[in-house]
């Protein structure tokens, strides 16, 4: 008889609010622990949210497209007979406002989401008598007050019924309730047959206002202001927080990649083995070098330096609207083939926004590779609280001079950005030397 509150989970360290992209379950669906309830857009990626409790998804409080701060009640899982009216009535009225102004919203993490609501829920367990309709929502659920007046006016004049760009599929009752509550049907995801908006959808939407519309793009004759995506907003906010307070220094080295290239080509002719990329070799080399140079695999934590004994490497993946850095854990303990498979999987899911929450945090070091863009060399900004990041350029065919004279060789520039509070130039250089040696004697990567 437990009632489970579904709250906006904290899915990454920097996350302050999340936006529901899509509910994968609809009200009335039977839920078991571990079912994927919804997809959430966080500051870093789109992640799937799992259910903790079991029962029926009785109520969706925050519809798709709406943001909610961490810990905010976004749904209720309970048995069909449980009375959830009290819980719904107590749902915070200020769930809105989080979307447009997330960084100012204080973090108020709630206790674990599986907390059962006690006596009130259990006591009123009722049988289902003939002819009893689904219980009406408490009055507080439908609250038009917080809606921007323009939207409310539009709804009342019936504009929402025939919006530009197609018909909104909604039941007559849903249309009427929406008009009265001032809810814009265009912003609601329907859960009825064929995505039709039905009463429960509007009632669920009535709980929060529709800030996405406020942030909608404004087109002007001379320029266009594009709204920040969640990812872009976080990058914009966080990068100065790295660059300004973290004193960066940079060390660059050139790696002869001829043997690594050759080895990679040989490895990639092996049948039944995963394809190895240059970046996989770099990841493996860094992982081994990090174990040897824990001073680089370190982070400033207040008045202490935390030195990691495991290499969890963040791999920067470019997206259309920003970049994200999924974490490949325990790289030091993984053979090259495994790194190749897992790194490709992470990158692919990052691009499809299917990363899991735990894959987005906990890196001890990062690698950013712009090799595919024919970049000679570049330097990267450290992603705090990590202590260093390696920027990897393209493998280029360049003229080289060796003992036998002038020839053509493959060279790759790598640049490490280091947090000077954590390490010094020499430490960075020694680390880089080892990375270079590992790549230039690539058989070491295989043992």
């Amino acid at each position: 008889m437990a009632v489970t509150k579904v709250v906006m989970p904290k899915l990454s360290e920097a996350m302050e609010s999340g936006k529901i992209i899509k509910w994968l379950k609809k009200e009335g669906d039977r839920i078991q622990g571990g079912d994927i309830l919804a997809e959430i857009e966080t500051d870093k990626a789109d992640v799937e949210m799992e259910a903790f409790g079991a029962g029926v998804l009785r109520k969706i409080l925050v519809p798709a497209g709406e943001p909610a701060p961490i810990g905010a009640l976004i749904g209720v899982i309970a048995d069909p007979g449980d009375d959830i009216a009290a819980l719904l009535a107590s749902a915070p009225t200020g769930a809105a406002g989080a979307g447009s102004d997330a960084q100012k919203t204080p973090l108020r993490p709630e206790p674990a989401p599986a907390a059962p609501v006690g006596a009130a829920a259990a006591a009123q367990q009722a049988p289902r008598p003939a002819g009893t309709p689904p219980s009406a929502p408490p009055a507080s659920v439908m609250r038009p007050a917080a809606v921007p007046s323009a939207l409310a006016a539009a709804a009342v004049t019936g504009v929402t019924h025939e919006p530009q760009g197609g018909r909104v599929k909604a039941s007559p009752l849903a249309k009427k309730i929406a008009a009265q509550a001032g809810v814009d049907l265009k912003l609601i995801q329907g859960t009825g047959p064929g995505g039709r908006i039905v009463r429960r959808d509007v009632e669920a939407a009535g709980v929060t206002v529709a800030p996405t519309a406020v942030a909608a793009a404004v087109t002007g004759p001379e320029f266009e202001d594009l709204p920040l995506s969640q990812i872009r907003a976080v990058i914009a906010r966080r990068m100065p927080l790295s660059k300004a307070p973290v004193p960066h220094f940079y060390v660059t080295s050139e790696v002869a990649m001829d043997r690594a290239w050759e080895l990679r080509e040989q490895l990639n002719t092996l049948e039944g083995q995963p394809k190895i990329s240059v970046n996989d070799l770099v990841i493996r080399a860094c992982a081994l070098a990090l174990l040897k140079h824990p001073g680089v695999n370190a982070s400033l934590q207040g008045d202490a330096i935390r030195v990691y004994h495991r290499a969890h490497i963040g791999i920067a993946v470019a997206l259309d609207d920003g970049l994200i850095t999924p974490v490949l854990r325990d790289c030091h303990a993984k053979p090259l083939a495994q790194i190749a498979v897992e790194a490709r999987d992470l990158a692919e899911r990052a691009r499809n926004r299917k990363l899991r929450a735990q894959e987005l945090s906990g890196a001890t070091f990062s690698i950013s590779n712009l090799g595919m863009f024919d970049v000679a060399e570049f330097s990267a900004i450290i992603n705090p609280p990590e202590g260093a990041i390696l920027a990897v350029g393209s493998v280029r065919r360049v003229p080289v001079v060796d003992d036998s004279g002038l020839g053509v060789g493959r060279r790759m520039a790598i640049t490490i950005s280091c947090d000077h509070r954590v390490m010094d130039g020499a430490m960075g250089a020694r680390f880089l030397q080892d990375v270079k040696r590992l790549l230039e004697e690539p058989l070491r990567l295989l043992v």
Binding site: A130, T132, P133, P172, L173, Q180
Partner: protein, 460 residues
């Protein structure tokens, strides 16, 4: 003893069981059914269908009695009750054969006999001659319900009968006390009264058909009283004992002497001997507890229909059967909306309702708009000579949501579905009034009652 393996085994082939079996077969599953009576269960064989045949007889008898109203002079007629019962048996047989045909058509195997669960996926069937074992990936229990009695009153099916006896007995008593004025009670009261039986209808609650809207009870009270059915409401039965002409019913002071007593005080889940205790199936108030997917507390074991709780209606069982079948087939069925199950009673005038009563709507705190239209103002009803009753529409005042509809009158049980569809589609009063209703029909009264809720009724 042979063991047979199937994807699904359905125990009980009433309206819940046979629908579940057919839907499973449609979805490509191999299906076994177990039945200790004829396929079709109580509904087809001993309930809904034969009683509808008897009620039709009652209607014809009543109409013949009114022949002069239509300018038809009869020099007397004889209504033979035994033949009415025989006709109802033929109707039931034909429908049961229909289920057998559907089983063959859908390649569903029928195991005659009584099923007992020996494990959560094993049914042992004890037939007349042999015992068989069925092993299935999923089981659907659909064993239905059986009549209840009052404490201390034994049903012997001779002087104290249940609906089981009432549909079988070919001789009508001279007098009968029907205890319980729900759907079963009022339907039999109607049949017996039409055949000249002296009927007393006894109800503990203050009004007959107590779950219906108060105005519906009033209308039926008027109609029954006109037909000479004695009504005793708000009275408790202290005892039912042999004596006098057959049975003496003690109504806490008043003694009622009748030839027979029909107990119609409700039905209980038929689960004894099914083996539920052995596998830990949870019950709730005497019925099997199920999830919205109709799964019991035991995984892979489903229960539908009367045994799975109220409302005890065949069409609710059928809807649950479809949900269970689709859940087993791995689909995600839309759960049964228990708030939108029409309820129908086939006495004259008929009663049909959906949603909440006016009193309940007001208790729920809604500001309501109520529209009512009497059949006396319906041209079609007047032409038919069936002007008893009305349609009453209860809507939410602010949105026009159809909260409840109550119909008492001719073909009420057919008219109700307009509102059932409307509620499923979340139509409001407006959509109903913008739907053109053919003239002249009884359904026009539905339009007029809806208009009345908006203060716009034309014909009244």
């Amino acid at each position: 003893m042979a063991t047979h393996k199937f994807d699904v085994a359905v125990v009980g082939t009433g309206p819940g069981g046979y629908v579940a079996a057919i839907r499973c077969a449609q979805l490509g599953l191999s299906v076994a059914t177990v039945e200790d009576d004829r396929p079709g269960g109580v509904c087809l064989n001993w309930g809904c269908i034969p009683t509808k045949a008897l009620l039709r007889n009652a209607e014809v008898v009543t109409l013949l009695g009114r022949a002069a109203e239509f300018g038809i002079r009869l020099s007397g007629f004889e209504a033979n009750y035994a033949e009415a019962v025989q006709r109802s048996r033929k109707v039931a047989d034909r429908m049961a054969k229909g289920v057998e045909f559907l089983f063959r058509k859908n390649k569903i195997t029928l195991f005659p006999g009584r099923g007992t669960l020996t494990a959560k996926n094993v049914v042992e069937v004890k037939g007349a001659t042999a015992a068989e074992t069925i092993e299935a990936r999923a089981l659907i229990l659909a064993t239905g319900s059986e009549p209840k009695s009052l404490p201390g009153v034994a049903i012997d099916e001779k002087t104290v009968i249940s609906s089981n006896g009432a549909v079988r007995n070919e001789r009508a008593p001279r007098s009968i006390a029907v205890i319980g004025a729900g759907a079963v009670g009022v339907e039999f009261a109607d049949v017996f009264a039409a055949y000249g039986v002296q009927v007393t209808l006894v109800e503990a609650l203050p009004r007959i058909v107590p779950v219906e809207d108060e105005e519906v009870s009033k209308e039926l009270t008027r109609a029954f009283t006109r037909r000479g059915i004695a009504l005793k409401t708000g009275v408790k039965v202290a005892s039912v004992k042999p004596g006098g002409a057959g049975v003496v019913v003690d109504l806490e002071g008043e003694k009622l002497e009748v030839e027979q007593v029909l107990m119609a005080v409700g039905r209980a889940a038929r689960i004894a001997g099914l083996g539920l205790e052995g596998i830990g199936v949870q019950l709730e108030r005497g019925f099997v507890k199920v999830s919205p997917r109709m799964e019991t507390s035991v995984k892979g074991l489903y229960a539908i229909g009367d045994m799975a709780g109220a409302p005890l209606l065949a069409h609710k069982a059928m809807a649950e059967g479809v949900v269970a079948a689709e859940a087993i087939a791995g689909k995600s069925p839309r759960p049964v909306d228990y708030g939108n199950v029409p309820s129908c009673t086939y006495c004259r005038p008929q009663i049909a309702s959906i949603g909440v009563t006016e009193a309940r709507a007001r208790e729920n705190g809604r500001e309501v708009a109520v529209g009512k239209f009497p059949f006396t103002a319906s041209g079609k009803a007047v032409a038919l000579g069936e002007t008893e009753g009305f349609i009453k529409v209860i809507a939410d005042k602010a949105t026009g949501e159809l909260l409840g509809v109550h119909i008492v009158g001719p073909e009420a049980t057919e008219i109700i579905h307009e509102f059932a569809v409307g509620r499923t589609l979340e139509a409001t009063l407006e959509e109903i009034i913008h739907t053109i209703h053919a003239h002249p029909t009884l359904s026009e009264a539905a339009l007029e009652a809806t208009l009345a809720a908006l203060g716009q009724a034309i014909h009244i």
